[in-house]
């Protein structure tokens, strides 16, 4: 069996195992059998609590992880840069900032949160793209401008919070704990997340094409800018929804596509579904660890991600010099 198939099988086995572990572990401990029985009978109070508290965060973790990873894959294809990631170039913080501002001033519009997040994410991406475009995308300039845009939006968000926004909804956008999630959040995440993921998979050929130089693609009659535009919209949609519902995560969109390329190759037909699955697994693992490792204290999943993600990325980069397109 080849590496691709094994990688998929391993991830597909680990996801249900982690879901089972995550559902049955924590302040309420029950066995898997009790859980399944309780779900069907509907009479077990503990199971009812688990259903309302743990299930939403499990589903949201899975979808947020998938969305952020695929968003990373798409941004890397659009910008032809292995370091492009929604967290690093400011898409997530743009989405977060606009969401906080809108929810604070217009709390009644809470259900439009995904729209605000999308507007913020798109704004940040537009700024990065415009400032770093100079008859072509220079990878280094793009990352530096992305870091600057990100810093501005993070700063603005903190300023806004410090100046008296005490709304719980607002705070949850930047701190990214996955606790206190409801089935309403799940509905938003699953609906928009699925749309984005399915479209990303449909347009995988565009991501593949962008691996060639622009002038080569033009000579093949391919509308490069249209492909870039479509993939950018999808990437921003995925990252913004994940940020609006689950909060800010960095590294997922960087780490997972990178692992994906070394395990399953650069063909997006395989890379996009693999990244979605692996990203889902990673965030769920991070959230479950954060919740159980120092119980009853909870460590936000984003912090776990940063702590394990950073060193792991360095390890990966040192191990292989295989970087996007080169």
């Amino acid at each position: 069996m080849n590496k691709k198939v094994i990688s998929f099988i391993v991830v597909l086995i680990l996801i249900p195992l982690t879901i089972m572990y995550a559902a049955t572990t924590g302040s309420i401990e029950i066995t898997v059998m009790e859980l399944i029985k309780g779900l069907f009978s509907g009479t077990n109070d503990q199971v009812a609590i688990i259903k309302d508290l743990r299930f939403p965060r499990i589903v949201i973790s899975l979808f947020a992880g998938a969305a952020l990873s695929v968003s990373g894959v798409l941004l890397q294809a659009v910008m032809r840069n292995p370091l492009a990631e929604p967290g690093i170039i400011g898409v997530s913080s743009g989405a977060g900032f606009v969401t906080i501002v809108m929810v604070t001033f217009f709390p009644t519009l809470y259900f439009y949160t995904p729209l605000f997040a999308f507007i913020g994410g798109a704004l940040a991406f537009f700024l990065v793209f415009t400032f770093s475009w100079k008859s072509g995308l220079n990878p280094l300039r793009m990352i530096l401008i992305g870091v600057a845009i990100n810093a501005v939006f993070v700063g603005l968000s903190e300023l806004f919070e410090a100046s008296g926004s005490s709304l719980i909804e607002a705070a949850s956008v930047t701190t990214s704990t996955l606790s206190m999630k409801t089935w309403n959040d799940v509905n938003i995440m699953v609906l928009y997340g699925s749309i984005g993921l399915v479209l990303a998979f449909i347009f995988f050929t565009y991501a593949n094409h962008l691996g060639l130089r622009d002038q080569t693609l033009k000579s093949l009659g391919f509308r490069v800018n249209r492909a870039r535009f479509i993939l950018s919209i999808l990437a921003v949609l995925l990252a913004s929804i994940a940020t609006a519902v689950a909060g800010m995560f960095t590294f997922v969109g960087l780490l997972i596509p990178h692992i994906g390329r070394s395990l399953v190759g650069t063909d997006h037909k395989v890379l996009i579904p693999f990244s979605a699955l692996a990203g889902a697994l990673l965030i769920l693992v991070a959230d479950t660890l954060g919740r159980t490792i120092m119980a009853p204290m909870e460590i936000p999943a984003s912090i776990i991600m940063a702590i394990i993600g950073g060193p792991f990325l360095i390890f990966l980069l040192r191990k292989s010099d295989r970087i996007y397109g080169n």
Partner: protein
């Protein structure tokens, strides 16, 4: 293809091409020569509609170049650039299949014609046996041929090559040139290329277009137009022009 009074400047507004006129005859191999920075590649980019001219027109099959739809143009005119990039694990065959893009819609599967053309392109370039190899495992010469294969799979009557022999050692240079000759002779392709080596240009071209500082100095059959004076004027190098039965016409540089 008719080149009518083309002038061109990049965003910096410095004129790179001045009132270029010329004709590229069907079925011929035309070579653009000239010193570094004279506008060879720029002219090629205008002729392939990668850059739009500031003034003048390029007319291809009776139609102005920028009136073509992107895919329509890509079915008429293929380009092999000097610089190329592709994901390192892409196979030779996959990359060659990109040449079929202008013949397909985004989501349609490969047709028999597509497969046939890809096979032909791989055979022409001698890569059929290596079709399942990743491109980064190939030598420079082989990689160059993959990009040519891609343009061949495009199945266009016009083929443009920007310095197809650069960075290749002499064997592979001639391999590429022989391929060009074969495509022209056997398949009737109209070929326009940029070359650095004047002797190769004389040997393999039906027509030469000599550029200097963005202007055409001479155009015509190499046997007629290549003279000591022309080379002195274009490159600033003293040469003698020789001719013998075996080698045909050739130049020998003497100094500057």
């Amino acid at each position: 293809m008719e080149i009518k009074d083309i002038s061109f400047a990049y965003q910096d507004h410095v004129m790179r091409l001045h009132h270029i006129n010329g004709t590229i005859k069907k079925g011929e191999v035309t070579t653009i020569i000239g010193p570094n920075g004279c506008g060879k590649s720029t002219l090629l980019s205008v002729l392939t509609n990668n850059n739009a001219p500031k003034e003048g027109q390029v007319i291809l099959d009776g139609k102005v170049l920028n009136a073509y739809k992107p895919k329509e143009l890509a079915r008429t005119l293929g380009v092999v650039y000097q610089k190329n990039e592709a994901p390192s694990d892409m196979t030779v065959e996959k990359l060659t299949q990109y040449g079929r893009l202008p013949h397909r819609s985004t989501f349609s599967p490969q047709s028999d014609k597509d497969e046939e053309m890809v096979k032909w392109a791989l055979e022409c370039t001698g890569l059929y046996e290596r079709r399942h190899m990743a491109i980064d495992t190939l030598s420079g010469g082989q990689q160059q041929r993959v990009w040519i294969a891609m343009a061949l799979a495009q199945d266009t009557p016009f083929l443009f090559l920007d310095e197809p022999t650069s960075n290749l050692d002499i064997y592979y240079q001639y391999e590429v040139l022989e391929l060009v000759k074969q495509l022209s002779d056997e398949h009737g392709l109209t070929i326009v290329m940029v070359l650095h080596d004047i002797n190769q240009a004389i040997q393999y071209s039906d027509s030469i277009l000599a550029l200097k500082d963005g202007s055409v100095v001479a155009q015509g059959n190499p046997k007629e137009i290549v003279t000591t004076e022309l080379i002195k004027d274009v490159y600033g190098v003293r040469v003698v022009v020789k001719e013998d039965a075996e080698a045909g016409k050739y130049i020998v540089p003497l100094g500057i």
